[in-house]
Symmetry: D2
Subunit: 346 residues, 4 copies
């Protein structure tokens, strides 16, 4: 059993029974500056290495039923990897007790209450903290994250989309006519759901679109793309299910109202992300592949421009559970606590 | 060993060593109206059940090096499953001898010589027969196919795309502003190529775009969509590699200049394909899945419309080797020879 | 919609909602001598092409809740693809009404009541018909099958094992000391079970043994191997779960008490199965592969002998849903009704 | 780019273009006590992140053509991840220069020259160092490894087999009659070979045995099992190819000449491995799964005993590239240099 130093930040994970919770623990056990002191879930309890046998010999943590007082007593920071609409019941008390919270659900991402209600079919119960929450897209909001108490960790599809859109949208917002995002995700994106649609024989050797034009990540992408652009960006978004466990690939079609040159765009993207450790912009002609980022916190971006110069195709890949969830959450924690931003993530 | 009736149409397959050749033979061995009398390839020779062990106990055919005279003597119709730029060297002699030819390569699909040259990097060597070739998209050109001697069997991506586009493009061509096709294919689409990019560890658990904005199927789609529309249709096309063996899914984003209603579009598509055995239009809210058409000659189509009514999303799936190649080739043969159109294909 | 001839054998499928039921229907729709007139299940009801979208445009059959009278009225023969311990409640009435029955469950395979009870945890409720049931391993019991009213269709693992064992066990039973069977199956072998163990992320990229030394197919293999040998054959059996949908591979280690020569064994196996269409014995040095028999009714067998001549390794592959279930069931029907034995199966 | 401390052990990797080389670098970049100073291969050269794009932003190492003098000058220890029969040409010079060497090939594993020649079809060219090489199965030879200059890192199949056999073979050698090992490996076990047999369409949805009774790992297993037992152990070994990238599962059938009890065996195994961090012995009724050890240095072992007590079935899983190759190599280095044995491996 690995001995963890006691003089470090105490971390809690709520929602260990899900995939994001598992990956969080995996990363945090390798992190030199923290100690996981509290592990909980909504319904599952018991030794973590029974819930996830991958952790045999790696931890003797025991998952408890979530209890706010226990979490407050035992943690400096709490990661919430709960289903949407559950986090907002939990966040307030933790913040009031002076704890830092990184919420991996969608509850604190959409700034407008009616939009939240429309897409998540629930009234928001914590608008006060919603207003204070900082969107944890590290490459954009690093300075705010440093000072934040509550992080709304970005969704998996939005992370890949927004990192792919960010340079063009913030630098050439006036050129953008419309954006079409064709997104494909591995099965863990659906969570640890026991349903026929996710049974092996119904996913293996299969591929399909789902929730076409109705995916709840659409307004998240549109909202932040709009912030970057300082104007409304029309976003069409379709999600698809890939027959693999982890990874997202998105092909983003950006219609422009004036010509651009491929070389210039690549140059611009490379410059934009020059100091970003976890974003790799590829050379012209190269395409990002899921296998190159699986099990890592990297986002990889490829670029192509049509012959007439008016269609920019950005391709973006991430690991949905790492950069798209738990890895980015730890990156946020690293920023908040002044750790090296890559600690635990390389 | 299955005894084949001698009083039937005699069929030759050239290019048995490729995946399309294998599927062709599989279908034709089950076809009640034909007998496979000649099997050839460019370099591979020997018993077919050594080339493809799947055929042990099913056939004792022996693959020869292709010889035009042998093909002419032994066949009424010849399927050419050769690489692009090879078919055009072979077709002329077969046609002159009065044989029917179904060409699965791209050689007779693009009607304009410079377009062919641009995308296939070769001068066309048989423009005379190119002019006569009938594009074998059965659902569109059935009457011409009936009388044709030379069929240009459609490409796999174009088949899924054109069947998805056909109703809207031919009925509402004036509404169409632009078309974006995000296409995903299983690995057999690349042929039986021994290259690192197609090795198991480089495809499994992976997904990526390839030949972005430069795929040779783009002009084929644009040309025929243009014919259906009787106007130029701007097509953006990106291909992706799926970690599975067979199947294509395409998500087609059609930007419209005036509003449409989802229910009307579904109705229109259903009516359009009412008498088509191999095209299934799904109800609103349903999405086609590769597994539902794998190993079949079916194309399945789903439809969705954006809230503002100006974005139509068509999803289309086929088996790339069946409806996207050999199955459609047999369907063409069935039309040419007056067989039941589904013979061998259900 | 395919028109089925009315002058043919009328067939019922009970248990259409499972994988075996689906494959049965797929085969029977292609069979020239039968018409599927009745489709039922225990709980699922409704159009078959809603239960299995693969059948859209192929059938308008509607699944009913199972009713013996309806089955008797509408069928000449009934296939039961029900869970174990359910068939034995259904068979008696069908037989009494003069119907033929092919039971794909384990209910009529084990001849000794205590053995059935031990492995299936239930008392047998139909011992009278159990005594009359013929084990539907076509290659062994063809003559009995021809005259049978009730077929106990073999289990998937036993089919691959027994075909691999049959020649050596029946010809050289005295040489056999013991048999170890290491069996691997695709996920459909577990049925259409919605359980976490069969969710995509828990099967993909995974492999494990299960029910080690406790699999209920062990006594079935031991019983029939014993019949072939006319002596007790000690069988050790371990099952494993493969990350694929269909296919079984078994590696069978036969310890012998005297030396054999590999060439002789291959010769013996080839001679033994000379007239069997669906069993392929490979040459020395070749190994059977699941892909060569997937979606077919073939069994493929490879052979190897240790340097000291006292260990014979037989490898055997089948498609678990075809030769291991529905294909063999149709082969049995073909024998019973005097159809060509390969009808619907090539 | 991660800055590596200069005051650490300098490490070279020869054979970076193979899978084992890649995983070695991945582990060593996370290791706190070493710096990778030299990377070479036999034919491939150039930036490591071109050879393996996974390393973009993680390293700027450049792969050179292997040169002994450069390796000697730049390294304290050299990992050789070269093909079999190549390492033995390289080891001598490195050892003479006082360098430590961990050889991942088979060249220094088989102690008897004729056995090496028989299975690797080459004369051994370095018998002097062969005699001195220590077999790097850490759990057995830790004390020798500490003092060794040359480690013969165990093969992947032998690691899983020997860890599964070790307790029973060393404690109850007299009870053992024979051992049958049914081994299954992911595709990376075959190396980065570009051959049709390893193309995606020939591996996906497939499973087969290969080199049946002729696999070169057989004598390695037999030799060391014999050392543990201090008697000859007859080993039958068959390897199979799994449709996944990493992982080995072996089911080991041990025939005994007297009865054992399952509970006792589990107790014995647990006690035996009590202090071993990387070996997990499961409770009775549990089975190891590849997914639980993939991408880790763990070996997981399950146990079952037949009703008659005379057949012990041991199941063992590892990641073939980690515990079966590069992870174990680093574990050996950790022992040799006095690092924490888990450094870089958790």
């Amino acid at each position: 059993m690995k001995i963890q130093s006691p003089s470090v930040i105490k971390v809690g994970i709520v929602g260990i029974s899900g995939f994001a919770g598992k990956v969080l623990l995996d990363i945090l056990l390798r992190h030199k500056g923290v100690r996981v002191t509290y592990v909980a879930a909504n319904s599952t309890t018991g030794p973590v290495d029974v819930i996830w046998p991958e952790f045999r010999n790696r931890t003797d943590l025991v998952c408890e039923k979530y209890n706010a007082d226990a979490a407050i007593e035992q943690c400096d920071i709490v990661f919430l990897a709960l289903p949407h609409t559950e986090s907002m019941n939990v966040v307030g008390k933790l913040l009031s007790a002076g704890k830092k919270v990184i919420d991996l659900s969608a509850d604190y991402r959409l700034k407008k209450l009616p939009v939240y209600k429309k897409w998540y079919h629930a009234d928001h119960k914590d608008p006060k903290n919603l207003a204070k929450a900082v969107y944890g897209l590290c490459e954009v909001y690093r300075n705010k994250i440093r000072k934040a108490s509550l992080i709304a960790n970005p969704g998996c599809y939005p992370t890949a989309a927004l990192l792919g859109l960010l340079p063009i949208v913030s630098i050439h917002s006036k050129k953008i006519v419309s954006v079409v995002i064709d997104a494909k995700s591995g099965v863990t994106g659906a969570g640890r759901k026991v349903a026929e649609a996710f049974m092996f024989p119904f996913v293996h050797d299969n591929f399909k679109a789902y929730r076409v034009l109705q995916h709840q990540h659409t307004p998240e992408i549109a909202q932040y793309a709009g912030y970057f652009a300082e104007k409304n960006i029309p976003v069409t978004f379709v999600a698809h299910l890939l027959p693999l466990n982890v990874g997202i690939q998105e092909t983003i079609y950006i219609t422009l109202n004036s010509r651009v040159k491929a070389e210039r765009i690549v140059e611009m993207y490379k410059k934009f992300y020059k100091t970003e450790m976890f974003v790799r912009v590829l050379d012209l002609g190269q395409q990002p592949e899921i296998k190159n980022v699986a099990n890592t916190n990297f986002c990889e971006i490829g670029l192509a421009v049509s012959e007439d110069g008016k269609m920019l195709v950005v391709t973006s890949v991430i690991d949905n559970l790492v950069k798209g969830a738990s890895g980015q959450a730890v990156q946020n924690m690293n920023i908040m606590f002044g750790f090296n931003e890559t600690e635990g993530l390389l």
